[in-house]
Amino acid sequence: MVSKVETVVENDVQVSEELKRIKRRKKRREIIRKTILYIIISIGGILAMLPFLWMLSTSLKDSSVVFQIPPQWIPERFAWENYPNAIKAIPFIRYTFNSAFITVMKMIGEVFTAALVAYGFARFRFPGRRILFLILLATIMIPGEITLIPVFIMFKQIGWIDSFKPLIVPAYFGGSAVFIFFLRQYFASIPKELEEAARIDGCSSFQIFYKIFLPISKPALATIAIWSFQGSWNDLLGPLIYLNSLDKFTLQIGLTMYQSLNKVEWGQLMAASLLVLLPVLILFFSAQKYFTEGIKLTGIKG
């Protein structure tokens, strides 16, 4: 009898020991799993960052150190002069101004008119609305290459070549169809009561758009503003086609000019490239959530 109880107790102790061991093993396995995971994502992360670090490192080397093997990741002397030299090698300031001007003017046009059109599609029931919206969606699919040459010829005919107008003016005609689509989805989710109250107070449709829809849609507007900024700032083809005079070039064309200088100064070239990337990087770190906002809202999930 006594021995039976003892064995039961002993069994219990054994079972709990066993359980502990299983738990410990599980925990150990979890630690191993996590360690492997950290190693893998760290290696991937390093691979993702290396080109940037290589760029930064090269931008601070003078030409004698650039070609040194094995390379110095942190040069003994920081060649800060690469930056002012890079800016002096081409009309960098002028091109920064040109790029900024085109980007900002386009951004205003694209965001404002896309919002206007999206509001029209989201909030009004007019005849032909469905078919027009379908046409809008269809234009997203049409590659810009088809219209590239006819539009170029059109702008040439009216004498707009070698001015910023061909790059900016189209932005004021609804902007990009994707932006309109994105904002329409957003506006359609805004409750009707808001505008009804405003309408009773005697607001016109435009006032409702301007005083209610625009302010409460700031996150969505910021998202497309960022897309617009990225697109214009990095655009090479547009400026390449429409601009001819040296003083009208943008930073993107400016960067290609370093290649035609007598000898590629890699330190300077990387310094200049880094300066051109800087606005996009700053924007990314200050507005990270907007960079990913669009995916949730455009509802790509089929």
């Binding site: 059109v117 029209g120 009004f124 029931r125 005849p127 088809i146 040459i149 990095n234 490239s273 089929g302």
Partner: protein, 297 residues
């Protein structure tokens, strides 16, 4: 007064047009008009400064006998065939790694996403330096483990792999779309599968992958369109011989270097037809492999 009200009501029905007017004008001026014009230009020989000369289908006939056309098309197709699937696999893998709840994961997400944020000439130049045969980062690293790296952009055999490598670097951009999808996979599906004794691989192929197909579908179409429209990197970096001459670069050369507007427009139409057909095929095939939740909408 009453009549005025009636008229007002009638007009009110059309008020929405006021708001969409900019887009309607823009569509006529910058899309529909130019498309109609482009149909005509494709049938002409037109050296921008001279008058257009109607030549019927001659451009299209010439294109099919043009070696450079076939070359640029093949370069682009080869690139797409490798870069698009590899890009999708890489993005999905990154997304799965980034979907784990471990400390510092937000930091890693930023790190992986960052390459996709930057683009343009600066990035092309960065890669030219990274891929430099003698002093570039990649060959220096390869030398450390005793491998003599190739000439990358200067070696015809390595031009396309160079471009694919560059594309994969930016694969973190696609990660975000998959992450959103992975978050939406109902966790009880995994739990049920675990009870049935499913391992990680079975769970991935039977649950995760089918539920990801709508996003794969989207990324496949976007990837193919993106591959066929590759321009900036290809224009800046070129490549050995014609091996780096992508379709759009050849189109650009024809239009804005040789000023063959008619020929270049015909090239654009062929590009359009190719992209359209590929998209159509993928759409048609989607019922076979894209999984839609039946209770959705």
């Amino acid at each position: 007064m009453k009549q005025k009200n009636k008229l007002y009501k009638k007009l009110k029905k059309y008020e929405g047009y006021l708001f969409i007017l900019p887009w309607m004008l823009g569509m006529l001026l910058f899309t529909i008009g130019p498309i109609l014009f482009a149909i005509y230009i494709g049938f002409t020989e037109w050296k921008i400064l001279t008058k257009p000369n109607f030549i019927g289908f001659q451009n299209y006939i010439d294109i099919f006998h043009d070696e450079n056309f076939w070359n640029s098309l093949m370069v682009t197709v080869k690139y797409a065939v490798f870069a698009v699937p590899l890009g999708i696999i890489t993005s999905l893998t990154i997304a799965i790694l980034m979907n784990t709840e471990i400390k510092g994961i937000r930091f890693f997400r930023t790190v992986y996403y960052l390459p996709a944020v930057v683009s343009g000439v600066a990035v092309a130049l960065l890669w030219r330096w990274v891929l430099d045969p003698e002093f570039g980062l990649i060959n220096l690293l390869l030398a450390q483990i005793g491998i003599q790296g190739p000439g990358w952009l200067s070696d015809p055999d390595w031009v396309l792999p160079s471009y694919i490598l560059m594309a994969l670097w930016g694969a973190g951009g696609g990660m975000i779309t998959y992450l959103v999808g992975l978050r939406e996979v109902p966790q009880n599906l995994y739990e049920a599968a675990e009870i049935d004794g499913a391992g990680p691989l079975t769970k991935f192929f039977k649950i995760t992958l089918p539920l990801m197909t709508p996003i794969l579908f989207y990324n496949l179409i976007m990837g193919i369109i993106g591959a066929f429209r590759k321009f900036t990197d290809a224009y800046i970096l070129g490549g050995a011989g014609n091996q780096g001459k992508f379709y759009l670069v050849y189109l650009y050369d024809n239009a804005f270097k040789y000023f063959k507007m008619g020929y270049a427009t015909a090239l654009a139409w062929i590009l359009f037809v190719i992209i359209f057909l590929l998209t159509l095929i993928i759409f048609k095939s989607s019922s076979l492999w894209v999984y839609y939740e039946s209770n959705d909408d």
